[in-house]
């Protein structure tokens, strides 16, 4: 499904190194950067060409809307109202009148142009520093017209990277579990969508219970738990071909799967005789290794990005706590020592933090701590929420939240939410059905 679509990328002008605007993403951003996203200009022939293929009246505006929406939801930017723009898109792309943009308090400006060339979509865009009256970046892409949404996401990633100094996370997908029906008989399906909720697609039919899908680093394969034939087992799904296979040959329930950072192994729990231990299976030679061996519940394993360590959840102390060990299972250290229970540890792609779910005094929290357990910080509190998954740049967490039912057991819902590592910018991610167990892909293009 994720076809490697060739996106040609040209640097029109060398990137200007002495940037003047900068966005600090390490703190909660209470003053998002005012940015003007001028609609990408389009000539009439190109407009008609795309209208015919894509059924969109003005693809230039559509793409700029994607960019605008991405930048707004990041919480770091404040895209200004287009009605206030004084300069026409085509002229602005050639040479902005900086005074005009300054007047509406824009600090940065995005302009661009769309062309229909040999049945392909060619997009160029420029990022301008309004106060310094300078071009900061100029890029062009050529791709198949169907890829227009991805072009919007790639532009957003480039702008984000140029202004924050870190990679973006917009050209990505979310795999999750779609939920429908009464709480006592939920029907669950695997579903995938773009990070902004577009292009939602169901990957299973809902005939069997499915849980906890997770991407591999290439975002082509997914590992998840399926109750196919009422046998809960870890499966591997190729989302491009739709082929599925069970992982390993275990005489009992396997669950809580994740890929290793190189994508070559699956790490998971195997439950037997009331104990759950952590195992890995090499996807090439099928060799299974037992990593933990303890009469407790050991589950929710997650590798450090260098693959050398594993964080996991265990109740060996009597209650659910978070541990870190070497990848061969040696050197087990408990790292959570605060009040309450801790679960679902997941290592940040940057390597410095572990995100987790905490249950304390009847409330659920999503939080982060350093990998030695120090610096615990709770980002959000709610009736029920769990299962954080990191954006590929390690700046945003996505998780799911469930509502309390009323005295008649009505009013249940499960939704996806995201929050910045700073604890700011909490947002619901709209899904066609109820949703849980989100997993964020890597950047699809780099």
């Amino acid at each position: 499904m994720i076809k490697k679509i060739l996106i040609l990328l040209f640097l029109i002008v060398p990137v200007n190194v002495n940037a003047l605007i900068e966005v600090d993403i390490t703190r909660g951003n209470l003053n998002p950067l005012p940015i003007a996203v001028s609609p990408l200009s389009i000539d009439e022939a190109s407009r008609k060409g795309f209208e015919k293929i894509l059924n969109k009246e003005n693809i230039g505006s559509e793409i700029s809307n994607i960019v605008e929406n991405n930048l707004r939801t990041s919480g770091l930017f404040n895209p200004l109202d287009k009605k206030a723009f004084l300069q026409a898109p085509d002229i602005a792309n050639l040479k902005p009148r900086f005074e005009d943009w300054n007047l509406i308090k824009a600090q940065a400006l995005i302009t661009g142009k769309v062309n229909y060339v040999d049945e392909k979509l060619r997009v160029e865009f420029r990022l301008w520093d309004v106060l310094a009256a300078k071009e900061m970046m100029a890029l062009a892409f050529t791709t198949v017209p169907d890829n227009w949404r991805r072009v919007g996401h790639i532009i957003s990633d480039k702008v984000y990277e140029r202004l924050t100094g870190e990679k973006g996370y917009f050209d990505t997908r979310i795999i999750y579990v779609s939920e429908e029906g009464p709480k006592t008989q939920r029907i669950k399906k695997l579903a995938i969508m773009d990070q902004d909720g577009a292009n939602n697609k169901f990957l299973t039919l809902g005939n069997e219970l499915v849980l906890t899908p997770r991407f591999n680093p290439a975002s082509q394969m997914v590992t998840y738990l399926s109750y196919f034939k009422n046998m809960p087992r870890v499966y591997l799904l190729d989302i491009e071909t739709g082929t599925q296979e069970v992982v390993g040959d275990f005489p009992g329930m396997t669950f809580a799967p994740r890929f290793s950072p190189d994508g070559k192994k699956i790490i998971m729990s195997f439950a037997k005789d009331g104990k759950s231990d952590i195992y890995t299976m090499d996807l090439q030679n099928r060799i299974v290794e037992k990593i933990t061996n303890h009469p407790s519940i050991d589950t929710s394993p997650s590798y450090s990005p260098d693959g050398k360590f594993i964080t996991f959840n265990s109740d060996r102390s009597g209650y659910q706590q978070i541990y870190v060990m070497k990848n061969d299972g040696s050197d087990v250290k408990r790292i959570s020592f605060g009040n309450g229970l801790y679960g679902t540890p997941v290592w940040s792609p940057r390597g410095d933090l572990i995100a987790f779910t905490k249950l304390h005094k009847g409330k659920f929290y999503i939080g982060v701590m350093r990998t030695d357990g120090s610096g615990e910080r709770l980002l959000t509190e709610n009736y029920y929420q769990e299962a954080p998954s990191w954006s590929p740049n390690g700046r945003v967490l996505i998780f799911y939240r469930e509502t309390k039912t009323n005295s008649k057991g009505e009013g249940f819902s499960a939704k996806l939410w995201s929050i910045d590592l700073t604890g700011y910018n909490e947002r619901q991610i709209k899904t066609p059905t109820d949703a849980s167990d989100p997993s964020w892909s890597s950047l699809l293009s780099n």
């Binding site: 006592t184 669950f255 929710s300 959840n313 679960g343 679902t344 057991g409």
Partner: protein
Amino acid sequence: MRLNKILKNTLLVLTACLVLSACATKKEVATDIKGQMQGDVYTGTDTVEYLADGVPDRVFFATNESILTTASRETLRAQAGWLRKNPNINVVLEGHADERGTREYNLALGERRANAAKDYLMTYGISSDRITVLSYGKERPVDSGSNPLAWSKNRRSVTVKAN
């Protein structure tokens, strides 16, 4: 090994009982919601079905626990008697957790609960060949309420005929 585990379980049950009775004297109101809970273990019959006359199909657990209560052991002894009388029947023990825990841990907890029931049936002479354990974690609650009574009904191991 198995005997060891049973001994350990019995001990734990004893301590649990002590703790419970201590709680009961301290604040009697908490003892039950309409007489349906003891501590936080469900003792009512609302959701219980019967495998045969006098043979309840399920046992209930305290929060985060997989220890069998006195009532649970009584239920399982009745199930063992019924299984001995019906040697052709095999069963699936379905372990469940309430909604107040993380999904993956709850899957393991459901498995642990069903195994506690399985171990007990085995000490009453039921062959492990006749028992399959299946954990649903928190995926299949019987009561969709968000309150302690509903949660207590959902923390359970249910014995289901497999054939």
